[in-house]
């Protein structure tokens, strides 16, 4: 395959066309002969025969014959050329352009997230070969850049963990010193800051890991068990009124998911609901067939921007409590599992719906 002769598209088409025409001509030679013999040359032959036999020229309208003959020949030639054209365009061109078609289709399907570079079919057409080569080069470069970028954010988060750990341990030592109230409160602020930083960092790391497909393995998980464990833990720390309803008509609540990620998703949605509802606000969690709905009352009775709510750091509210990554993580987890997540605002309530 490797040492096939490369040709340009133009010369390849030319060769194919000439071959095609030659074949069609060869097939039409008997037809030419037959028609010439029976129509056009018939009268001529009569004349020649008569002259040879010494009979003299018969009364024949030669002019009409010649015109008809020429017309027939002209038509025949036209017909042969058209037929060759038609065959070339209809069948040979399709065959010639097939590699291009394949390249186009595979390029359209190419997804940089998967980073899988397609295998184009072998071709001996110079232009297509060039196209394929440059596309592969481009895709490889893109995938590599994408991978490096993904790895970078993961590595950056890892590298940040050590200074954060150091900072925290120094604070743990600092707090042992004799301090007055003012100093103590400053230390407390620093603690809160390291907490926020490590939370942010952990979330960035989680996002990077989801993107890098490090949570690929899935198993059957019971969503109700996860949810009730989560709320059990939550009740220790919060006094919100959280109602959980299970309207499942199936006997089981299991679904196929990565358990760690599903827990993360639930955690983030519940926290979000708690965070952004008035202190006495009721939070409803509804589990239905392949659907989870978490709703909470809005504090300011204003809907969120549904287009931006799942974007990273998109929070435009003044009361910045979270770090702007919670819902982005929810979205990432849903994308990974091919679930959909929606946000709806109804009757002064924020509703988040996950459809499994």
């Amino acid at each position: 395959m490797g040492n096939r002769i490369m040709r340009t598209l133009l010369s390849k088409t030319r060769i194919k066309f000439i071959t095609c025409m030659t074949i069609v001509f060869m097939f039409s030679v008997p037809l030419f002969y037959l028609i010439t013999k029976n129509f056009y040359a018939e009268d001529m032959m009569h004349i020649i025969e008569s002259v040879e036999q010494g009979k003299g020229i018969p009364a024949i309208d030669l002019e009409q014959d010649i015109i008809a003959g020429i017309m027939i020949q002209f038509l025949l030639v036209f017909f042969v050329i058209s037929l060759s054209f038609y065959i070339t365009i209809r069948f040979i061109a399709r065959h010639l352009w097939h590699p291009f078609d394949d390249t186009l289709r595979k390029t359209e399907l190419f997804n940089i997230m998967q980073g899988k570079i397609p295998n184009f079919i072998e071709t001996d057409i110079y232009e297509f070969k060039r196209l394929n080569n440059s596309l592969i080069k481009l895709m490889e470069k893109d995938s590599k850049t994408f991978r490096i970028q993904k790895e970078f954010s993961e590595n950056a988060s890892h590298e940040l963990q050590t200074p954060l750990a150091l900072m925290r341990s120094k604070l743990d030592l600092l707090i042992q010193e004799k301090m007055n109230e003012k100093q103590m409160l400053l230390v407390d602020d620093l603690y809160k800051l390291t907490m926020r930083m490590s939370h942010l960092n952990r979330n960035l790391l989680l996002l990077a890991k989801i993107d890098n497909e490090q949570y690929a393995d899935q198993e059957e998980v019971d969503i109700m068990v996860l949810l009730s464990n989560l709320l059990l833990m939550y009740n220790v720390f919060h006094e919100h009124n959280i109602q959980v309803k299970n309207k499942q008509t199936f006997s089981t609540n299991t679904l196929r998911a990565n358990p760690f990620l599903l827990e993360c998703l639930l955690k983030n949605l519940v926290i979000n609901a708690i965070r952004y509802s008035p202190s006495d606000g009721r939070i409803q969690i509804l589990v239905q067939n392949h659907q989870l709905l978490i709703s909470n009352f809005s504090i300011d009775n204003k809907p969120l921007d549904a287009n931006k709510v799942f974007h990273r750091f998109s929070s435009d509210t003044i009361q910045k409590k979270g770090n702007g990554l919670g819902l982005a993580i929810v979205k990432s987890i849903c994308d990974l599992h091919r679930w959909t997540v929606q946000y709806k605002f109804k009757d002064g309530k924020h509703n988040f719906i996950v459809i499994f």
């Binding site: 954060l164 042992q176 103590m184 603690y191 720390f237």
Partner: protein, 233 residues
Amino acid sequence: MFFIKNEMKLLIIEDERELSDSIVSYLNHEDYLCEQAFTFNEAIMKVNIYEYDCILLDLMLPGGNGLDILRHIKQQAPQTGVIIVSAKDSLSDKVEGLRIGADDYLPKPFHLPELNMRIFALLRCKCFTSNNTIQMGVLTIDLLGKKVLANNKPLNLTKSEYELLLFLIKNEHRVMSKSALAEHLSGDMADMLDDFNFVYAHIKNLKSKLAELGVTDCIKTYYGVGYQWVIEL
């Protein structure tokens, strides 16, 4: 001098010198003999020569992978307790580490009191001969039954209050921040919480329950920021 106390020997394998020093400085209050190793080769050498009761192991080290050291430790001295302390908070590393034989896994960043608590729990598990009760003044803590007696009367504590009490007592005479307590109580939920007011509530409940049985002034509060167990033995 020989039979004063059987000192526990600790090896801290951590390439970040300052973090290692901080750990040593905090653990100095305990009767531990701390040694440090900063590189892969140094760690392997020390593990080969000495015996340790507990090893803190960082996974990312100059010169090699911490998991290889773990394998080495498990060959040389399988009874040694190992706590992996890693910045690489990855599930696969954790699973692999525990599979090879690590006893615990503590992701960075962590609080020093938390590390101290983990070391205590590990050493208690490893030394089956040791007493499973802690005597602290008038308090007797049964670690197996998770029960507390104060002046020989049972102290009725919730699970988190019990955890809190044990945490305070094990880090006695050291001031602990609210966030260290919060993280110990809530585990990985801590960084989802917006405030640590529940720590205050738990401390208050614990104090009043202790006071009912005549144990007063045992927890000192530093402006609502730090807490300290102050009763002497």
